[in-house]
């Protein structure tokens, strides 16, 4: 068996932090290896060393038996290692072909060079089963297609080892499945693959072997057929974790009702004829591929946009015209989609972020002056109640980990005892431990009678938490289905918009 890649005893320290501690990893030719680990486990550092972005303090990298010099990005690429980043590095205003050529060919494309490149690209596309239109502009492609271009770009540079960083982070379920089928085919052509992930079901479905990193150390290696998701979760987190699951409970009166709501943004209709009801003690899951109107729905319920048509009521009160502050006052708790952009201000301290939403209430200000002591006491209480680690009221919020920042936002939202909670992708990018904590809190709020709208791109999560589920497709909502009736296939069809055809048939 030939080894495509060997990382030997890699150690990398940043100041006092050891990001990689004597990590050894091998990849056989034609193998798919999953590199599993929580955020901060050292996956990215390891890959950056492999690619020469960082110089390791100790250890060596070999590609097909050849040692490659440290801290030379070109060397790794020339040795045949390609990387597909989580965030694409494509120029939107150039064509597929131009993007593929970019960086490996001269910038002054002669016509003949371009023709040659096109031929090579088409050959590769054919050989690996990655169909593309070479002259399409990147900006016109879907996310899945863009990823295909990223892969082609690496293959064009004669990559024989391909590393994919969280390749499914941006893909919907069917697209992800298709990607993994393609990857499997590619290994038959002699390619060797590493994909980085923290999603267990993917790892189980798509890899031959799993390597688990935790705290910078290589904790375990398993053949995928010899392990289970439970074991991997435990290895990854270091203790047993169980994602909480909804318990059946009686559902109360309607709290939030949207009736034929339309939302326009910059002259385009983002939500059309959207109707849903969220009841007391109920979680309504909204599933869908990203970019189908989730952002507009989130903005609407956060009070950032107002409906162009239709009605939005909270316990009978019309809240259509409400701004963020009115929403909070009316008892709407909001967990935004992007905690760094919307949820918290990194440069402010924890207590300042904690009180920001309700700064103008008598609790936190009097006659235009902020009540510091009250704010800090409140934050200290939140830190305690919501187990926000590594934080004091005066800690700069940007220093918190993603999970702890999310706990802060969730705590701020739940401490008002909300009647209705908008939870927009509440666990995106969090590790297993933090996911469990966040979901637990949401379920507790549900048990206490809050009505919750959960916008999620993760089907398992939506099914495990929601009482009912609606799919969002191109700004429209499907009819709700009860979660216990929703299997993956049915939801898949809903998310593909098949229910719309049902309507026509009926």
């Amino acid at each position: 068996m030939t080894l495509a890649l060997e990382l030997n005893g890699i150690t990398k320290r940043f100041g006092t932090l050891t990001a990689n501690d004597d990590v050894t990893l091998t990849l056989a030719q034609g193998e798919i290896l999953a590199l599993l680990g929580e955020n901060g486990a050292g996956k990215t550092t390891l890959m950056n060393i492999l690619f020469g972005h960082y110089a390791a303090d100790a250890g060596s990298v070999r590609v097909f038996g050849q040692e490659i010099p440290p801290a030379k990005p070109r060397a790794a690429i020339e040795a045949g290692v390609g990387m597909v980043h989580q965030h694409f590095t494509l120029a939107g205003n150039l064509t597929v072909l131009e993007n593929v050529m970019l960086g490996s060919e001269s910038l002054l494309w002669a016509r003949s060079a371009k023709a040659k490149a096109r031929e090579k690209l088409m050959q590769i596309a054919e050989r690996f089963g990655l169909p593309v239109q070479p002259d399409a502009k990147i900006s016109q492609l879907s996310v899945g297609e863009r990823q295909r271009v990223e892969i082609l770009k690496a293959l064009y540079r004669d990559a024989r080892v391909l590393i994919l960083d969280e390749p499914t982070a941006v893909l919907a379920r069917p697209e992800a499945q298709r990607l993994f089928e393609t990857l499997r085919d590619m290994t038959k052509q002699g390619l060797s693959l590493i994909f980085i992930s923290h999603k267990l079901h993917e790892v189980m479905a798509a890899s031959d072997r799993v390597a688990v990193l935790r705290g910078g150390k290589m904790i375990a290696e398993r053949k995928t057929t010899d392990t289970s998701p439970e074991e991997l979760a435990e290895l990854m987190v270091g203790r047993k974790v169980q994602r909480p699951v909804r318990q059946d409970q009686a559902i109360g009166a309607p709290v939030l009702i949207a009736d034929q709501v339309r939302v326009d943004e910059k002259g385009e209709t983002r939500l059309n004829d959207v109707s849903f009801t969220v009841n007391e003690g109920e979680i309504l899951g909204i599933v869908g591929v990203s970019g189908n109107g989730q952002a507009a729905l989130g903005a609407l319920l956060s009070g950032l946009t107002i409906p162009a048509a239709g009605k939005l009521t909270l316990s009978g009160q019309d809240i259509g015209q409400f701004g963020p502050r009115d929403m909070i006052r009316a008892g709407v708790g909001r967990v935004p989609e992007d905690r760094h952009a919307e949820g918290a201000i990194g440069e402010l301290s924890v207590w300042e972020n904690a009180v920001l939403e309700r700064l103008r209430t008598p609790e936190f200000s009097r006659r235009g002056f902020v009540r510091h002591a009250a704010g800090k006491a409140y934050a200290a209480n939140l830190i305690d109640t919501f187990d926000i680690r590594g934080a004091t009221p005066d800690t700069r919020t940007g220093l918190l980990s993603g999970g702890n920042m999310q706990k802060l936002i969730l705590g701020r939202c739940l401490s008002i005892g909300p009647r209705f909670i908008l939870a927009n992708q509440p666990t995106r990018g969090l590790d297993e431990g933090a996911i469990a904590a966040v979901l637990e809190k949401l379920l507790t709020a549900r048990a206490q009678g809050a009505a919750i709208l959960l916008i999620s791109e993760e089907l398992e999560q939506a099914v495990a938490l929601s009482d009912r589920i609606q799919a969002i497709v191109k700004g429209r909502l499907s009819k709700p289905v009860a979660a216990h009736e929703a299997d993956a296939q049915k939801l898949g069809l809903m998310m593909a918009g098949i229910w719309q055809e049902d309507d026509h048939a009926a």
Binding site: I328, I345, L399
Partner: protein, 347 residues
């Protein structure tokens, strides 16, 4: 080489940064002084002596620092909210003009008149910045352009007024506006010098700005909106109201600078009464890292350079324009210093 964001910028680095910036700026300026054929060390000693070498020099330096503190605060307040107010100079002149105009014929006793005139000057400055702020909110017009260009319009307007309706008939053709009534002149802080009680108002203004940002709801929301507008809006902060509030406060501070300069020093308005107080205020604010207490210190430094440069020029023959060069260099080096304060260089 790459830049890596520091986790938390320690206070000592923030305090250290302006000193480094000034040092490097003086070092660069030393080459220019040497090019003028003078030993830079001699020149700098003369500069320091001219600004701090005698009691009179020091009072003169603080007289110059007074408007700089206020225009520095004006810039610091605006920049914190990412309102790029480059129009301090225009707001200064507007405040000065309105103060002189009303103060010439106001029938009030001095104790009442002085605050009324200051408020009038503040209102004039605030009104001048309200326009660009409104245009930015309503139409997205870049306030850098509007505030900068308004400076020239205002100075031409001042010229028009002091040649015309507000011309001082007793000034013998010297273009100056009518002076404020003698009752309204700010009392001297140290008798026999030009140093007036305006300095105390300026320092009090710095205290007030600190209080606003550190303690009030408005200041809190302004900081939040300046750091991350999206998150602030999500949390219910009204961005338009915050921006307009900041514009009014910033304009008022620059207007107060003009008002205080008229009441304390010039009595009437001339088009040459400001050696660029409004523009220098931007440097003052940057050197202070936008902190009100720092503004008082950096205004003192800039005033030292301005006042000292004249003495240096007399003693060594280096043109006094070197003061403008040093101040401008400080702005550039401070921006670089701030970069190194927030980022760490990594290979």
């Amino acid at each position: 080489m790459r830049l890596e964001r520091r986790g938390d910028v320690p206070l000592r680095i923030i305090i250290f940064a302006p000193f480094m910036a000034v040092l490097v700026a003086l070092l660069i300026a030393a080459f220019l002084i040497a090019a003028a054929g003078v030993n830079p060390l001699t020149a700098y000693v003369e500069l320091l002596r001219g600004a701090l070498g005698s009691r009179l020099a020091i009072t003169e330096m603080f007289t110059r620092a007074t408007p700089l503190i206020l225009t520095g605060l004006a810039a610091a307040v605006a920049f914190r909210a990412r309102l790029w107010n480059i129009g301090g100079e225009g707001q200064f002149f507007m405040g000065a003009l309105v103060t002189a105009w009303i103060g010439h014929s106001l029938a009030l006793p001095g104790v009442l008149g002085i605050p009324v005139l200051m408020v009038a000057g503040m209102a004039a400055g605030a009104a001048l910045l309200a326009g660009p702020a409104y245009l930015r909110l309503r139409f997205g017009v870049d306030e850098v352009v509007t505030t900068l260009l308004l400076n020239f319009i205002v100075i031409l307007f001042v010229g028009l007024m002091i040649e015309g309706p507000l011309r001082d008939p007793l000034a013998f053709g010297w273009p100056s506006s009518v002076p404020v009534d003698r009752d309204f002149r700010l009392p001297d802080l140290i008798p026999g010098t030009r140093l007036h009680t305006g300095l105390l108002f300026a320092i009090a203004a710095a205290g007030a700005v600190w209080l606003i940002f550190a303690r009030t709801v408005f200041g809190f929301e302004t900081r939040a909106a300046g750091l991350n507008p999206t998150a602030a809006a999500f949390a219910g902060v009204s961005l338009p109201r915050t921006l307009m509030g900041v514009a009014l406060l910033s304009g008022a501070l620059a207007g107060l600078a003009g008002s205080v300069e008229v009441l304390g020093v010039t009595a009437g308005v001339t088009t040459t009464m400001s050696p660029g107080f409004g523009y220098a205020g931007i440097v003052v604010a940057m050197l202070a890292a936008l902190h009100p207490a720092g503004v008082v210190a950096s205004a003192t430094f800039v005033a030292t350079v301005f006042v000292g440069a004249d003495a240096m020029s007399r003693a060594t023959g280096v043109p006094s324009f070197i003061a403008d060069v040093i101040v401008a260099l400080c702005l550039l080096t401070m921006i670089v210093a701030l970069l190194f304060a927030t980022y760490r260089v990594r290979r």
